[in-house]
């Protein structure tokens, strides 16, 4: 026999008119409760706890307090700089911008990894290509797409852009950006990173 889950027990306890918007227990829950002493006891116990909790009624300050409080907050707010949009234009942009940036960085990482694999022996230095330079062919003779992408990105990226896009080395910047992402954006970033790491085998 499957006992009720914690959530089902909460629903059943709240269904006894103790909570706002009580939802009646569904038929399966009611049928189970009719035969299961253990779940009945859990529901009763939770119901008693709800009644206990309700004994501590909310404290209502004097009506005069609210005007005083609003004035206090207004005064504190006026000491703050105006809540105008952020000065840094790159902040608060949609996740797509960050994902493009991520792909550029991953492309650079991939290129760097491939360059290490195919580096010519004898101390030759690899150079970052410019857009004018032809794409470096891969060993099978095809142009390297990652090389082209990195070359184009690097060619068009000014120092100021790089700083604005957080490619600079300001301490804590990456953490700040990560904190600003929503949960969904963070999940997507994690997924992309994992996919890219698997793909490149880094």
């Amino acid at each position: 026999m499957r006992h009720l889950t914690d959530a089902e027990i909460v629903d059943a306890a709240e269904a006894l008119d103790l909570a706002p918007e009580p939802a009646p227990p569904d038929r399966d829950t009611a049928r189970h409760l009719a035969t299961c002493a253990s779940c009945q006891a859990s529901v009763t116990r939770l119901r008693e706890a709800l009644l206990d909790a309700a004994q501590d009624r909310p404290v209502e300050p004097s009506p005069l307090f609210w005007d005083h409080f609003a004035a206090r907050v207004a005064s504190a707010i006026r000491e703050e700089p105006a809540a105008t949009p952020r000065a840094w234009p790159w902040r608060g942009r949609p996740a797509a911008v960050w994902l493009v940036l991520l792909l550029v960085v991953l492309g650079a990482a991939t290129f760097s990894w491939r360059a290490t694999l195919h580096a010519p022996r004898g101390g030759e230095q690899a150079t970052v290509p410019s857009a004018a330079e032809p794409a470096r062919p891969t060993p099978d003779g095809e142009p390297d797409a990652a090389w082209v992408a990195v070359g184009l990105a690097a060619d068009r990226l000014t120092g100021e852009d790089a700083q604005a896009l957080a490619l600079g080395a300001a301490p804590g910047l990456a953490e700040e950006v990560a904190i600003e992402l929503s949960a969904d954006e963070r999940d997507e970033l994690t997924r992309l990173l994992e996919t890219e790491l698997k793909r490149t085998g880094v």
Binding site: D6, A7, V10, R45, L50, Q55, F69, I77
Partner: protein, 204 residues
């Protein structure tokens, strides 16, 4: 309990005229409009938001702090943080949900520093008769026991219980404020109530 944004839209008093930085906000403007005006530099618009939500924010803070002075300081901190963070408010949730999330975070952070909640007794009943005074005292003592037991709950259980039982927020909104699923919010409430019961039994 404040009506959810969806209800307000249905009842038709939603007003979509955004006051500019210099224009006085209207008290009946909806939260989104006032947020936009606040972002545009209209501080009076934020004053209206404060007046609209101060009671619930204060009550949340009071439940965590257990004392009027601390609660009003915390509530002020909540609004100042909300004002600073307005540009980061994306509007994916209702403004009230976002604001209560800030309130819970401020209170939980504060609770991490001050773990003991003070339990004030209401002295406004001093002139009533002795029997009534006894009953009042008993009620106040019981309420104080409950408050102390709630104060000892683990932070997320405590937050869930406060939002659901005392603020009567729907499970979905509690979950949104705490950044969790409805199932987890219900699970937290289950454990909060079970722990509350245990603690109250130990005391009596």
């Amino acid at each position: 309990m404040p009506r959810p944004a969806a209800d307000r839209e249905q009842t038709g008093w939603r007003l979509r005229v955004t006051p500019g930085a210099d224009e006085l906000p209207r008290a009946e403007a909806d939260d989104d409009t006032l947020v936009q005006a606040s972002r545009a530099g209209n501080r009076e618009a934020f004053d209206v938001l404060v007046q609209r939500h101060q009671r619930l924010v204060y009550q949340i803070c009071y439940r965590f702090a257990g004392a009027h002075e601390d609660a009003s300081d915390l509530a002020q901190d909540v609004f100042v943080r909300a004002y600073r963070g307005l540009s980061g408010f994306k509007g994916s949730a209702a403004f009230s949900t976002w604001l209560y999330r800030i309130a819970v975070n401020v209170c939980l952070n504060r609770a991490a520093v001050h773990t003991t909640a003070r339990v004030p007794l209401d002295d406004s009943q001093a002139d009533v008769g002795i029997e009534a005074a006894d009953a009042t005292l008993l009620r106040a003592e019981r309420a104080a026991e409950v408050r102390a037991a709630v104060a000892q709950l683990p932070p997320r259980q405590r937050a869930t219980l406060i939002l659901r039982v005392y603020h009567e927020l729907p499970h979905a909104q509690v979950a949104a404020i705490l950044g969790t699923s409805v199932g987890t919010a219900k699970g937290n409430l289950f454990h909060a109530l079970a722990n509350l019961k245990k603690r109250l039994e130990k005391r009596s």
